[in-house]
Symmetry: C2
Subunit: 324 residues, 2 copies
DNA sequence: TACATACATGGAAGCGCTTCCACCGCAATA
DNA sequence: TATTGCGGTGGAAGCGCTTCCATGTATGTA
């Protein structure tokens, strides 16, 4: 009803179904004559191969699933995630595999396993997974799963080198004379932030500064709150480093509302180098990372399935603008 | 190899395939005993139904495709698109239908038709389509297609009311004493901008101002360029309205580089009310629209398939901040 | 005890497609 | 003329699943 089947095409072209299939897929021999007649029938009937039936017999899983973990609104609003999706979709398109997008709740570990188990999956790229969630993925399937963020021994991960990235930013703050540096982290369930906090701690330790960490969640709103908290708790703070540009922008806002001058009174630095970082006033000092490279590597890892590497970290580069 | 089949489950449970299927789908009678044994077998073998095979026989198309038209990097970088995707994915998830994401090139009209023709499609939401592209969609399928942006008589569309939205912003500029107002449009292939330009023209006409339109493309980079162009061409310009916040932010940047004071010398207004609009310095005056409502309505339209409405426009509301 | 009724179950068909295999005719070779 | 090789073709199997239908097997009623 909905559409013509291969049988209809074969009948219309006066050939067998096998021949019609060969012509449509281009997978076997066929005389130019036959080819033309089948093509004509296809055009006339508006034939479109049934993806399900084809997948059933070819057993080819030509779909790249991208799972984004965490609360959706905040997460997709995040330009970082957008860049990941765009790139992964590109890599997939180049290989003619479809892309499916999935929002997985943070607190339903089973959801990732269910997704991974879907047959006919070419690969699965998980954005910002937790390690327990990754562990729910059946062992046999781990070869076709890659993580952007934290990984496991079985699941290769691709991520920014938060440690040296943070180190670079915080050191820059120290170099420019700041000593009372506070840090706004990411959501606690995102383990990738741990390395960043550690790097921050280390720098503060080496320069004798006090460790001042407040929790964040990668949103601008939280940044504004955090700024107020920080200034209330440690009034002598002269720099704030946020592990997300969005949050840093929020900090800028919060500080502005407080009447604090940036960078005069307090320097502010972010992390990610989103498109807006250069547009804020003052323009945000931050650290830029090769998100596209990371996403591409992850997509390739599951689609081309070479040898499995453990965890790959990509360098982040300090971008000095006005805010610090 | 990859996974157990229903036959394996049936064998393991000592029942027929038909019975196993009934238990798994929950679609027929089965004794508690049998049920338990099949369940055990499923658990032990890690059985997961093959989606392709199931789709083949049930003929159920449970997938919502979201096609985004236009150059990908710029488009997904756009927070607007991100909000649309998030919402549509939510609506789909609530109905337990999968989501697939597609980047369609601007100049390949056939690509949309091919996507729409895919069997087993629950619905298709097209973001920012062109009318010609929509016309390539086979008539029989149009009932399950909705557009966000421009539509056709056969394809319902959901969009912001650019006309009154623009009217509101430009009138605000006039009210606050601006007379030499320039406008930066969206990409020329996006017809939704036409109504906005028309509204702008009308306001300028009614207040005797000169019409100053320069092309934009919804990016910040273009906004910065456009600002320079505008000030070079019409040095007495005292306000700039950009049909995208991203572009307006770029205008802010370009003006700043030129040493022009905002809003002192030139007022700037945007459109969309993205998250950053309130964070820029000066905070951006813009117009906010119910993107989530729009995306939800579009997704619902194709998924729930009620009566087809023509085109629905959602009101946009002026948000006055510092820049104008 | 004989019957209808309900429920549980297995057999088998078939969804639309790809692909192995056998076949047929034709040209090239012996 | 008999043989080989090969491109083109159709028959048929089968991918994993759902579901109609027929066949039992326990229950309730006459």
């Amino acid at each position: 009803m909905t559409g013509a089947t291969l049988d209809d095409v074969a009948r219309a072209a006066g050939v067998s179904r096998a021949t019609a299939s060969r012509v449509v897929t281009g997978h076997g021999p066929a005389s130019p004559q036959t080819r033309a007649r089948v093509a004509a029938a296809v055009a006339e009937l508006g034939y479109v191969p049934d993806a399900a039936a084809r997948a059933l017999v070819t057993r080819t899983g030509t779909r790249l699933a991208i799972a984004v973990i965490g609360h959706t609104a905040a997460v997709l609003g995040d330009p970082y995630v957008g860049r990941v999706l765009t790139t992964a979709a590109h890599v997939a398109a180049a290989r003619e595999v479809g892309v499916s997008l999935h929002w997985l709740p943070l607190n339903d570990p089973g959801s990732l396993a269910r997704l991974a188990e879907t047959r006919g999956l070419g690969g699965l790229v998980v954005v910002n997974p937790t390690r327990p969630a990754l562990d729910t993925v059946p062992r046999s399937l781990r070869g076709r799963v890659a993580a952007i963020g934290v990984g496991t021994p079985d699941v290769p991960s691709f991520d920014v080198d938060n440690r040296t990235g943070t180190d670079g930013v915080v050191r820059h703050l120290v170099t420019t004379g700041r000593r009372h540096i506070a840090m706004v982290t990411g959501p606690s369930w995102l383990p990738c932030g741990d390395r960043a906090v550690e790097a921050y701690r280390r720098v503060m330790h080496s320069c004798g500064g006090e460790v001042r960490v407040v929790p964040g969640n990668f949103t601008a709103a939280r940044g504004a709150e955090a700024a107020v908290e920080i200034m209330a708790r440690w009034p002598d703070t002269d720099a704030v480093f946020a592990l997300s540009d969005l949050t840093a922008l929020g900090v800028l806002d919060g500080l502005h509302a407080l009447g604090v001058q940036v960078p005069g009174d307090v320097a502010v630095a972010g992390f990610d180098d989103i498109a807006f970082a250069g547009l804020s006033r003052p323009a945000l000092t931050t650290s830029t990372h090769p998100v596209e490279d990371i996403a591409e590597a992850a997509a390739r890892a599951v689609l081309d399935r070479g040898r499995v590497q453990r965890a790959t970290f990509y360098p982040s580069r300090l971008v000095v603008r006005e805010s610090a």
